[in-house]
Symmetry: D3
Subunit: 256 residues, 6 copies
């Protein structure tokens, strides 16, 4: 059920029965010469909407801009500063509780948001207001991701390429896949920026000249579909598990 397309009366029926919401969070940032800047928010939205469709749980509109200062050297990357993002997500989530929501899944497709969504989740839980978890699609199916790609790449690599090939094929510049591979690096390790145990990089450009990693030519729409089906299945199960918990079991444990 997609919140934005319903009236308040219809939503009243949902809240009378349920207290779970999926909140898609992505980013708008460079994804190399071959993928659109929408990549992360398209993926987050696709998973959240699909899982909501399959389960009947509520999905909210997508937060399209996240914490992406590390991609700012590449044209068009949008971002909000980290403290602002946290406060925005906290306010958005806390206000949902006004309608009775007490468990939230941040359906996330941008690595740069993870720690901030976790911090927001802690604030909500420690305050006893709500229980929110962050879910990142590729972390739910690590084995499949590893099986499908030789070099899966953490940003703009074949796994994200395959996802957009499947979800929005018209947005992939297929003729730039080789350029994507050749102008970037295979992995952060290859960039040689972890020095004596310290990550000395802060920006993507410190590691990769064109903003991406991995071998994009390894991607296909079929692999994208396989990923999507497998991870959606995980998300559906997560929602069902969450829905089945007692509220008190989700909240912070007391002092020993």
């Amino acid at each position: 059920m997609y919140l934005a397309e319903h009236t308040w009366e219809e939503l009243g029926d949902y809240f009378a029965e349920h207290s779970l919401a999926l909140v898609p969070t992505g980013s708008t940032e460079q994804h190399g010469p071959h993928l659109p800047e929408a990549t992360d928010h398209l993926i987050a939205e696709a998973y959240a909407r699909e899982a909501a469709e399959r389960t009947g749980f509520l999905c909210t509109p997508t937060v399209n801009v996240g914490v992406s200062p590390h991609h700012r050297q590449f044209h068009g990357t949008m971002w909000v500063d980290a403290p602002v993002f946290r406060d925005y997500m906290e306010s958005l989530a806390r206000n949902l509780t006004y309608h009775g929501v007490d468990r939230i899944v941040f359906v996330n497709a941008h690595g740069g948001n993870i720690q901030h969504l976790r911090e927001v989740g802690r604030r909500l839980r420690d305050a006893g207001d709500a229980y929110a978890v962050e879910w990142m699609w590729d972390e739910s199916i690590p084995d499949l991701v590893n099986d499908l790609f030789v070099q899966n790449g953490p940003h703009g690599g074949p796994k994200e390429t395959a996802m957009i090939q499947y979800l929005r094929p018209e947005l992939v510049r297929e003729d730039r896949l080789e350029a994507a591979r050749d102008g970037g690096v295979a992995s952060v390790e290859d960039a040689g920026t972890v020095i004596h145990g310290s990550r000395t990089f802060y920006d993507a450009i410190d590691n990769t000249g064109n903003g991406v990693l991995g071998d994009q030519t390894d991607a296909t729409a079929e692999k994208g579909e396989e990923l999507f089906e497998a991870a959606t299945d995980q998300l559906v199960q997560l929602c069902e598990w969450l829905d089945a918990q007692d509220r008190e079991d989700l909240m912070a444990k007391p002092h020993v």
Copy 2:
């Protein structure tokens, strides 16, 4: 040109030539028994995308959740607190300047955002970072709005109804138009909550039982189209005017 669907290389071409961006801002909030909660962000996005299409200027993704605490008593209304919204919009806008943007149109369709976007615009301008203006579709065509509707209603009324009938007809509950009219009030004045010159209301529910105002049965998709064409034309002209200004003429004037 829609930022999110382009690669950073393609966007580099845009920024080499232009410094203007349209940023759609709406809300996700109750719009009575007949309209979806997406109403405001759908309208904002439609105008911004259309004007970008016609002019070639850049349009960013939409900020879907705004300042709507005054609708919170109705199921599903989402909002972020006002200070958080301001900081989010300021950060988002200021970071755009990193790519050379120095003039922004907040294409807005939610009255509750206006003063906050103006405050953000002041911050950006007083700091000398960018010049941003707020544009609200119906304020650009006041005569037409008055001509088309007997009682146009400021929230969830016939003008917004007509817009969604035109843009997304499948989302209008046509069988609830009469209920919308009969369960609300015609105007804020009719609610009688301005007492001895003071607005004594803070929430929509203080004025209207079902969250909306005006006579929704007066709306048609044809009127919606007429509104859309007329206001889009205004927005296109605003962009062209803004683009033609010298940067220094847009910035704050010096002390007398």
Copy 3:
């Protein structure tokens, strides 16, 4: 009853019986070549003190400096930034509740403060701490203002001029009234700065060369007295209405 001139013992008697306070809020900012920068805070204080005198309700000292960055290009304009003003007013108002105050009238004479006082009022009400309304003298008597002046002007115009001619005639530079009229503009509309529906101005100087609008030669002390009596009467009635309400009726309504 003026709080500042009483001892804590005497005030204890007031709080034992009443829970209403009037808080005058103005500004210190340019008002053209003919009026003192005190204009707004003098007016606010005059109304609040008079209404307190007539009703017996409590009036606090005046907040003399408000949100006036839009007048800063003119010598001597004082202001505090908007977030700071809101926090100051919120803290001041919330702390009043420690003595039992639960309803407050911000007696305001500066348009630039309105939205901020409304935002503060929302914070106090949503938190369940107090109910505060903003009251602006000229908004309580719109018909009279229109009747008395051909071109009443929103800032430094004849209505404010008449008020100071009545309240503090020695502070009006009568020999500068024509200069005030001739060096400014008649109205914001005349300035031509609303472009395709967007307010493109941020500062007074964007609209008017000498900082004021309207025809100041239309003002007289007699008109000032008429305004003062009429608006004071409105304020007195507002206080009495507010005093008569049950606290619970003033607070935010519950979720539908």
Copy 4:
């Protein structure tokens, strides 16, 4: 020269010649059974206005409410929280620099404001924006204060009583002077709340039952006048000294 009573044109003449401003800061708080809650802001305003009159330097309107949470148990005490006060004073002071002010005297009559005005002064100076000093009337004439009164009392005692007897005699409840003395304590030391070197009190009520200290019956209007003349003379000299300094000598010294 009192800023609030002048027009922007007249103030332009001042700023063309001078860069000094006096900003009176007081409080509105209980001052025992005999003095009005206005005591501190009346005193601050009187000194600042008088020194401005005698020297020709600019005096701004008074900040009437300061940091007085320690008096809150007594009816009517108004206050803003310390961080809010600091931000308000900083914003007010910093914005004055827009007109060319680079040296400010906070003419203060409330002990609870001192450290906060000092902190604001540091912020302004460390940022290189302005040089502001805090001046407290009784600290400029310690010997005279000690000579005039056996037990001068830090709050609501004879020195403040004498000041109001001189400045606003109609506001002193002369028949409550003995009650003031008998219901309070002579000094903080007498309250016995400094325990093993630690100040264990936070509020005035921890030390004194009626909110005041010292022997109020020792006060007269004549003593008040003597104090006023002597301290005004100090303030006048401070302004002249400050005016004579080079800006660079007032600003923070460089690293050794």
Copy 5:
């Protein structure tokens, strides 16, 4: 009992019986040519650990960096800005209450921290969360300090010198004591920076060329020991007094 050297199980035994904690707060800042920058935090830690040892109460690790911007012109001075220090101490203290702590002694050896610790103490007490007092070693034994030294000096003077000679003699540059005395000033009064009642200085360097005051050659380790024993005794008694109070007697008194 030193918190940091115990396991959580052992600490559980403490919290089952007690609710008091000592929190040492110092600074890392220049102390002239003869003393290490650690001076203040070494002293604070020594007192707190010793009192904890003698009484069995809990001592936490030391906060080594405090509010020392006024010493920044001298190499190596570390500091955090005042608002940050307050928030850090408040968060640290409030979180201690999670384990049942409701009374805290800030064992402080840096004058620049005092007002900030007091402000934090007010926040905690006004919120009803905990009762915290600031204790500064030399303020607990003013007579002894005066007896031992002709010119005791408020910063880097003989009293602090004697303390380090006793606690950590290897850290005192004995051959620089005369230089310390000769390159500084005897007292703030001697610096002549209190002008017409106003403190016109903000930084130590405004008063003293080498950062210190007083006559350091007057210090000996024996005097240091005498100070340490006397002040420790005061601190021990303070802890015992605090421990013996009822919680409600420590908290803020109600409104009269």
Copy 6:
């Protein structure tokens, strides 16, 4: 060179030559039934002081309390909230730049601090103020850690146990090693709290009953020494690498 034990004159010599500082950051938090709560700050301090000794670079005092809310259910855990910690570290680091420091190594031994130190590092670098990296001892020698222990455990496990056995053997409760192992879990994976790809835990107690993970009986002081030597060597090399870089190469790269 340990900053705290030197005078400002001596430190002036250092800053004349160098611009690098090591800042140890740890925590004070439960480490199971066998280790002291000081564990993390002892380890951080030991590494930082040793590397400073071997290289001659400057080491500051240790920040003893970090971001540990996830251990709060266990007695004695101290923490500051995450936004407060970030602001404290940022202020501390930024102020160091006043003396010429432009490169900082946060020598860290608490996993919970990592992301926050990285965020602070970004702020400093993006502002162009300084270049700071986070270094965590065990991340510099992953292979050795894996070789030495079958189950190394991320918190309170054998690697931390071995470190304290080596650094401060008297603080290890050797008779509780088996209890530590048996009352906890071997790894986060074993706790089963990563559900369908989502980390559903927020606190240590969600995963482990006694607060620790891994097999503590596998630890010895000899292994601790081996770890210490190997990781110190890495830190020494990191400092030397950092010192050899041009400042401009450390700062953020420009826009493509």
